[in-house]
Symmetry: C2
Subunit: 216 residues, 2 copies
């Protein structure tokens, strides 16, 4: 599949790119094209070093949209509105939100917008005809970026368009060690986004690192 990662130079975006680029054609997008090119070179080096083939390139965010059928918004919650305002031609794309709105007090708290979740806010801001799914919410960036580390994780996927959700599940399941689960309609995304502050709290209070989740 052709996958574009908006904000792909951040930790989460780089982690997702690292895991997808040995199986798919990945475009890492950034506001700064040079940074995207540099991230894609690091990704290529790390993946090919281990003997895998790799298809990855760096470009602007808009080019990452234009080249892809699935567009992953690897951006912080507060960047959703300004970033989407700079992008066009998202209609007919599958847009994936791995975004988790949260606040840090003495511990991490889920802090969804009035729409109910980041995924529902993304849907509201996009033109009709765009299929939105939530997925990759619980990516522990450091673990995903270390391509040599095996993953053993479950990734829930929410969405209202069955065809789009099936494609995103296929994308998730193409990553070795990762199981994809249909977690219901887009309105159920709040329960997935909420996992990340829980995992961060568990990491913090149990002195663990890069805590992931598995369903069994």
């Amino acid at each position: 599949m052709r996958v574009g990662i908006i904000g792909g130079t951040g930790d989460i975006g780089e982690g997702i790119a690292m895991r997808l680029s040995s199986v798919h054609d990945v475009s890492i997008g950034s506001r700064e094209e040079e940074k995207a090119v540099s991230t894609s070179e690091c990704c290529y080096a790390a993946v090919t070093k281990l003997g895998f083939s790799c298809s990855v390139s760096g470009c602007t965010n808009q080019e990452a949209v234009d080249r892809s059928e699935i567009v992953i918004l690897a951006i912080p919650f507060r960047h959703i509105e300004p970033t989407l305002a700079t992008l066009t031609r998202l209609e007919k794309k599958i847009v994936v939100s791995p975004i988790n709105p949260m606040e840090k007090k003495d511990f991490f708290v889920y802090a969804p917008p009035p729409e109910g979740s980041a995924a529902l806010l993304v849907k509201k801001l996009l033109p009709p005809g765009t299929s939105v799914c939530s997925a990759f919410n619980t990516v522990a960036a450091n673990k995903w970026r270390l391509f040599s580390e095996n993953l053993d994780l479950g990734v829930p996927v929410c969405g209202d368009d069955p065809d789009a959700k099936a494609k995103v599940l296929e994308l998730v399941r193409s990553i070795p060690g990762v199981k994809g689960y249909d977690a219901g309609p887009l309105a159920a995304s709040c329960m997935v986004e909420c996992l990340t502050p829980l995992l961060l709290n568990i990491a913090r209070f149990n002195k663990m690192r890069d805590v992931g989740i598995q369903f069994r």
Copy 2:
């Protein structure tokens, strides 16, 4: 430890009793003492049949409180207020809420009370000096009730009183195959209670049964 299970004749209570009674002294409480005695007999038969020792008895809910240091509220969300209104002498006990407030629409949705979570509502209704923790929220009753089934699960525990939380974590970790995790203060319980509707949705949309969770 001496553990009382309020509403212990329900599926969840029975599941928890089954797993704890081979290691601890468990009192299964019920509004109807006869039902509690009958559940305790089933539990005793199932556990001893597999060659384990078992300490379990059935009694009223109030007796389950009086006999125990840890009191688990294995009741549905809507029973919290009426049940707590019938109980006295909960001060100085450790009260554990495994309760998940949720609604079923086309899918399961987390539906916390104005207090923010079931655990915070429980705390509000109890006399000062009672230590409240949330734990056992993601118990898949059918799996826990089958004592012969091995568990491989993570159980997050929230609470504000460090000593009480340490005891509850010890209780959780005494169950073979179960790992206990400190998930932060009681105010973080919403993120734990929210797991259960997520797991029920995953079970439903992926044709799975008794879905549990593990952290890794």
